[in-house]
Amino acid sequence: MSPSPAIEVRDLSKRFGDVEAVRGVSFTVKEGEIFGFLGPNGAGKTTTIKMLCTLLAPTSGSLRLAGFDVTKSPEDVRRSIGVIFQDPSLDDRLTAEENLMLHAVVYGVPRAERRARLDEALAFVDLSDRKKDLVRTFSGGMKRRLEIARGLVHRPRVLFLDEPTTGLDPQTRNATWEVLRDLRDRNGMTLFLTTHYMDEAENCDRIAVIDHGRIVAEDSPEALKRAVGKDVVFVRTNEPAALCAVLAERYGLTPDRTEEGLCFRVEDGEAFVVRLVSEARVAVTGIAVRRPTLDDVFLALTGRQIRNGNSEAGRDAMRAMARRR
C-alpha cells in the first residue's frame, strides 16, 4: 500500500462575489515535506489554507488531505491537522496553560498524556515559566510562539502555518524555524506554510509561487533559482585590468569593475570559478558566488517584486539591483 499524499489539490477555485481569490490551483504535498506558498498580499494564500482546513467551502475543485475528501469528511480532516492562523486566535483572557489544555481536550489527547504534552509544547517554544499568566499580558512574539505550541499539542499529521513568522523579530523567526525543522525531522510531520518573505521560503523543500490566485511556478527553491538565472560572481584581485581581459577574451564576459575587484553573472558560478582559477594566470585574492534570490525568481516570473518589509533577502536583492544599474 503506497501512502497517500499528505495534501492533494486539483483545480481548486474560490470566488467571493466578483473577486476570484483562487483560480484553478493544483499541487501535491508528500508526507514529511515542508511545502511553501510564496506570494504577495492578496495572492490567495489564506483562502487556500482556509479551504484546506475545512473553514471555507471551495467554489470548485477537489481537495484531499491525509487520504480524506475535505468536503465530504471534514471531521476526519480536522482530526489530522493543526492550524496556525495568520491572525491571532488565542483566548487572551485565559492563561497560556488554559488555552493549551482546552485544545488538548477538544482534540482528544488522552487524559493521561495531557500534562506531559502541554509541558513539552511550552518548553519547545520557551514559555514554560509563563504558563500561569494570562495571554493578554504576552508580547506579540510570545503569543505567536504560544499559537505554534498549541498547534503541536495534538501532534497533527499536517500542520498549516499561515505566515507563521510575520511580525516576529529576526531572532524569534530563526528560533521558530529551528522548531519547525525539528518537528519535521523528529516526527515526520508535514508542514504547509505560506509566506511573503523570500528568505523564509528558502526553508521549504518545495515552493509554489502564487500570484493573483494562480500558481506560476512550483519546484525546490534551488531549482527555481537555477531556472531563473545566472549566479553573481565577485572576484577580488590586484590586477583587475589583466583579469578583465582574460574574462572578456576567453569567456566572452563583460565584468563590472567595483572598488574591490570584478563582478559578473554566469551560469553555475561555482564550477566556473574552479575553471577560472585553474585556467587564468592572474593572482586572485578572493572569490564570492551569490546565487540568484527568490526575489529574482518572483521578478522574472511576474515582472514585479514581492513587497517584503524587513526581509533580509529582499534588502540584498535591492542592493544587488542598485549595483547592477
Binding site: K50, C53, T54, L55, L56, A57, E75, R78, R79, I81, V83, F85, D87, P88, S89, L90, D91, D92, R93, L94, E98, M101, L102, H103, V105, V106, Y107, G108, R150
Partner: protein, 250 residues
C-alpha cells in the same frame, strides 16, 4: 459528542465570567436593585391585590426569570467576541461537531444565569420575601431550560451578526418585548384581552408562571403546561441555534 469536551468548553465561559470581577458584581447586584426599587416602591400601592401574596414575594420569581433572560441572551455575545478576537476560528476548526459547541455555550449561559438566580433567591428572604425553599429548588431546572432556550436564540442571532453593535441592536429589540409582555412584573389574571393574547404567545410567560407557582404558590396556567411549553421552546430554539451555527463560515 464527548461530555468532557462540553464540560471544558462551558467551563471556559464560566471561568471568564467569574474572573471579570467588576462585571460579576454589577450582574449580581442588578436583579436585587429591581427587587428593592420596584418591589418596595410599589408594595404599598399594590398591596396583596388579587394574588393574595405580598408584592415583594410576588416579584422575586419574576425578577429571577428576568435575570435568566438578560444573562442568557447576552452570554451569546461571547460568540461575536470570539469572532472579533479570532478565537472562533480555533473552535470551528476543532474536530468536534458544531452541536457540541452550541450545547456547551447553552450550558455555560444557564450556569452563569443560575449563579445570578441563586443570589436573588438567597437574598430575597432577607428582604422579607416569603419563598418556599423546596419550590425554589424545583424551579431551578425550569429556569435552566428557559436559560438554555434564550441562549440558543442569542446564538442564532450571534451566528448571523458580525459586529457587537449588530448583535446588541437585534438583542435589545427582542429582549424588551419578551420581558415586558411576560408577567414578570404583573399577574396574568384579568389582563385586557389584547395584552392577554400577546402574553400567551410569549414563551417567557410560562417560565415566569412556573417559577412563581413553585416559589410562592401563585400561578395562572397549570404548571405541567408551563413546563411543557418551556421544553418545547428549548427544543425549537436549540435546533435553530445548531443549524445557524453550523452554517456559519469563519
Amino acid at each position: 459528542m464527548r461530555a468532557e469536551v462540553v464540560y471544558h468548553l462551558a467551563r471556559r465561559d464560566v471561568v471568564k465570567f467569574l474572573r471579570d470581577r467588576q462585571n460579576l458584581v454589577a450582574t449580581l447586584v442588578r436583579p436585587l436593585l429591581w427587587v428593592l426599587a420596584v418591589g418596595f416602591g410599589l408594595r404599598r400601592a399594590v398591596g396583596t391585590g388579587a394574588t393574595g401574596v405580598d408584592f415583594v414575594s410576588f416579584l422575586v420569581p419574576g425578577v429571577a426569570t428576568m435575570a435568566v433572560l438578560f444573562s442568557s441572551m447576552f452570554s451569546a455575545i461571547s460568540i461575536v467576541w470570539d469572532r472579533e478576537f479570532g478565537f472562533l476560528k480555533e473552535l470551528l476548526v476543532a474536530p468536534v461537531p458544531r452541536a457540541t459547541l452550541v450545547l456547551a455555550k447553552m450550558i455555560s449561559a444557564s450556569v452563569t444565569a443560575l449563579i445570578e438566580v441563586s443570589v436573588v433567591l438567597l437574598v430575597a428572604p432577607l428582604l422579607g420575601a416569603r419563598i418556599d425553599p423546596l419550590g425554589a429548588l424545583l424551579a431551578i431546572p425550569v429556569l435552566v431550560a428557559f436559560g438554555m432556550s434564550v441562549s440558543a436564540l442569542g446564538i442564532t442571532v450571534a451566528s448571523r451578526m458580525k459586529t457587537f453593535e449588530g448583535f446588541g441592536g437585534i438583542v435589545n429589540f427582542l429582549i424588551q418585548p419578551v420581558f415586558f409582555f411576560s408577567g414578570a412584573l404583573y399577574p396574568l389574571d384579568g389582563l385586557p384581552p389584547a395584552l392577554a393574547v400577546v402574553v400567551r404567545l410569549n414563551p417567557m410567560s410560562y417560565a415566569v408562571d412556573a417559577t412563581r407557582g413553585l416559589c410562592v404558590g401563585v400561578h395562572h396556567f397549570p404548571i405541567p403546561l408551563d413546563v411543557g411549553i418551556v421544553l418545547a421552546t428549548l427544543a425549537l430554539l436549540g435546533t435553530l441555534a445548531v443549524r445557524s451555527f453550523s452554517r456559519m463560515q469563519a
